[in-house]
Assembly symmetry: C2
Homo-oligomer: 513 residues x 2
């Protein structure tokens, strides 16, 4: 058995049965091995940023790592931005990077690059496999690393001769470490703070934004008077009827500081203490009150359910039904507004839909108008590197095996970073509905421009303008095999949404805003 076959067999034995790929010469033996080992689903992306973003979306819904297949250092480099996002989202991914043969690398052939250095910038675990006989156990270790709580990016670099040489040995799965134990002192300390009645915020992120943790957090809040909020960079929130109407800490520095100003105590549950996405002249980097005390109830690698359960028990908090979010919204009417679009989506989305939100500037107000929608998952860009929305949607749809509708709320400028994902949606006939929020500019930067105190002149404005020439979204979608239509009103948008939900494949709506 060659190394490549032992790699594929080990992955399957470790429960990794899905591969997102853009292979090259150095991966040919791995690709060949896919046909010799039944059970590995392989999905092609036309650019590595699509491949890695799909892997991120896949993890978020499957809670199982997939592997990527990337070609040499530059192929990995193309996928780094969405691996950065995956790292910030704490998604588990096994990257397989084919590379120059061990004996060929010193010759510095054109595609040779410092693959390990590139990998280390985004990975919790990096290894270059040294020989075919070690590749199986290296793969098992990579899967173990990817599964380590809360989820990690692991990168295994596979020189081509390690793939093609004989001597491959299939390895057994390695045990996944238990999540770090709950810190009893932290629970007691937080319980004491909450009992004091001083204004306190429980800040949720990671798995603390999921259904069951929300229920526990709500018990704590009801028993103690503490407030609940989501970290702005929470990658995934389970929302809608039966869940809590949680808001995120605002993106805008002034708004974030105002939102956090009431709280003397900030209790972190899988979250980090809120800081600005960026610094701005004359404004603080930290968004909490200077005199606020920060308490860590649960770190990201700990189990937030256990911590919240311990806290609820310590407080003697009784069961509490989630608040009634009110009636499901009616669709919006007339010209597209953020609120109207949010209401339209909330009114029409099927049960257990998945929303991939890279709406950037237009979407800041979507939450308030979608609390009363049916239960759904809402996915966010966690690392700030634009271009994850369409790939994450694609990966989420693949993880849901076609059984859940995925709705992308997608800014136009960001969509242009990874529009090739639409082709994979068409190829795999995925139930993905994309709403392109076409404002013909990098609208966020117009706001950022003002926030940093700079004065935009004509050159500056032209750098923020996407309207010359206007991007033809219907043409682009069709060119990638995806049916598409334009909406200029919310009524048209609602009709197209409803139409797309009746279809099995992807659909794109260009919403002119």
């Amino acid at each position: 058995m060659n190394g490549a076959k032992s790699l594929v067999e080990t992955l399957l034995r470790s429960g990794v049965d899905t591969c997102f790929a853009n292979p090259g010469t150095s991966e040919m033996h791995f690709v060949a091995a896919l046909d010799q080992a039944a059970g590995m689903r392989c999905v092609l992306g036309l650019h590595e940023t699509v491949v890695t973003g799909i892997a991120d979306g896949y993890w978020r819904i499957a809670r199982q790592p997939a592997c990527t297949l990337l070609h040499c250092g530059p192929g990995l480099a193309n996928g780094l931005a969405n691996l950065h996002n995956a790292r910030r989202a704490r998604s588990g991914i096994v990257n397989l990077v084919g590379d120059q043969a061990t004996y060929h690398r010193p010759l510095d052939a054109p595609l040779t690059a410092d693959t390990e250095a590139l990998a280390r910038t985004v990975s919790a675990w990096v290894r270059t496999s040294a020989q075919a006989g070690a590749l199986g156990r290296d793969a098992a270790a990579a899967v173990q690393a990817a599964r380590t709580a809360p989820g990690q990016v692991a990168t295994l670099i596979v020189p081509s001769d390690v793939s093609w040489n004989d001597g491959g040995v299939v390895a057994d799965p390695l045990p996944v470490p238990h999540a770090a134990a709950v810190d009893g002192h932290a629970v007691e300390s937080v319980a004491r703070v909450l009992r004091s009645g001083a204004p306190a915020l429980l800040l949720l992120a990671g798995a603390a934004a999921f259904d069951e943790a929300q229920g526990l957090a709500w018990r704590v809040a009801q028993a103690s008077g503490a407030r609940l909020m989501l970290d702005f960079v929470t990658p995934q929130v389970q929302r809608g009827r039966g869940r809590l109407p949680l808001d995120r800490v605002p993106y805008n520095t002034d708004h974030a500081i105002a939102a956090l100003a009431p709280f003397e105590h900030i209790v972190l549950i899988g979250a980090k203490s809120p800081v600005g996405f960026f610094a701005y002249p004359g404004k603080p980097s930290s968004h909490i009150r200077p005199d606020a005390q920060v308490h860590v109830l649960s770190r990201p690698e700990q189990d937030p359910l256990a911590a919240l359960r311990a806290l609820a028990d310590a407080l003697g908090a009784p069961d509490a039904a989630p608040p009634d979010p009110g009636p499901r919204p009616e669709p919006g009417r007339g010209a597209p507004t953020p609120e109207g679009l949010a209401r339209t989506v909330a009114a029409l989305m099927p049960e257990h839909a998945i929303v991939s939100d890279e709406s950037v500037s237009f979407g800041r107000g979507f939450y308030a108008h979608t609390h009363a929608a049916p239960p759904h998952d809402w996915l966010h860009l966690a690392g700030g590197a634009i271009g994850d929305g369409l790939p994450v949607a694609t990966g989420a749809a693949l993880a849901a095996r076609g059984e859940r509708r995925v709705i992308s709320l997608q800014a136009d400028g960001s969509a242009m970073y990874s529009l090739q994902a639409l082709w994979t949606q068409a190829r795999e006939r995925l139930p993905c509905t994309t709403i392109i929020l076409n404002n013909r500019r990098y609208a966020i930067l117009v706001g950022e421009y003002q926030a940093v105190g700079a004065t935009p002149g004509p050159t500056a404005m032209s750098m923020l303008d996407l309207g010359n020439p206007a991007l033809g979204w219907l043409d682009l979608a069709r060119g990638l095999g995806v049916e598409a239509a334009r909406a200029t009103t919310l009524e048209q948008c609602a009709d197209l949404l409803a139409q797309s939900f009746r279809q099995s494949g992807p659909f794109l709506i260009e919403l002119v805003i």
Copy 2:
């Protein structure tokens, strides 16, 4: 004056007057400074791989560095693959990477990444500017590094507070180091070898592939009986009538070994000793005869003209007119073939056209049929990271200030890596004609598959297939603002080429092959 203004003014004073940009929040003060300093041309790209590829193409034609403007580590990461190509092409580029404020970086905000580590993988020179007062002289040093022979990638990381703080000082240009001197001993040694009459090859790359160096190399060849060849990875060749009908060392290992087998001596002039792009099982990594002797006449950082002149003088080589390449070809007819397309392009291209060749598998035979075309520059992918063809064409057209027609011979799979470049061509109304060689697959990998000895099964073949769904190239081009038409015969292709050459803006021809 703030740091950003001192940066722009220093760049202008150092002769860097062109900026390719995809900015974000951390670059807003730089963008603002562009409006306060006349003379900096700023061109927007919709993805950083477009931005960096444009900078590579710009250098190749202008022989002057431009700057890029990139947003934080992930923005740089998106541009790394084409910076890898630029590094291999030895192109001079000044990357400006805006980043988190110095005091904000320790807080590990979401977009924070190891920007320096990313930069080092592709750059000969990396610096993070520490304060506004140093930014001017840091910029001058970056330009100096980019201009250092034969051309280098220099990356200056600019924290946002270094941009916005006062205290900026405009710096004078720093002197560019002279190219390393000719090695007289190497000249003598090579002259002795050539006089011996043993079979010898002069292998040219870099500036040795340019017009004047070719003339000197031809004198040497005529006087000594040595043969001439271009390194496969030569980024730019000046070709056509009046230049030499040089061939490149073949890509295919067997063909390369056969082509190099006659030579007991390999004389490198800006080239590296030929090795495989990849290793293949049971085949040698080095493509020269095991008993061949390698002689370095001129390293890439040396002046090949001086070295060749010294060698010609040492041999007493008289002037020699270049060989007559024969009559200009007639356009091809009927179904598209590599030879027919090459003849069609050679028959129709305007004088001093620029060919950006990312034809990959289809284009291996283009050279033989284009020697008798009018004088032109032919640009190649030097680093093997696909996706440089369209951006390099765009940058070349910008460097030529609209005065030269640029023809992209572009494989379909590679085009999908950076198709956003078409939008910049439309926005800047560049005279770029793109021929998409649409074979609906990663054709090169079918060949590579066989070369590594792997057996393709259905999963493997599906990973090489771009036909499901078929990419709609006319739709994609129009969506990006570029007029487009399809050709299924060489006659149609010739008509469309001629039509596009009469227009001032970009045009795309989908050639179904």
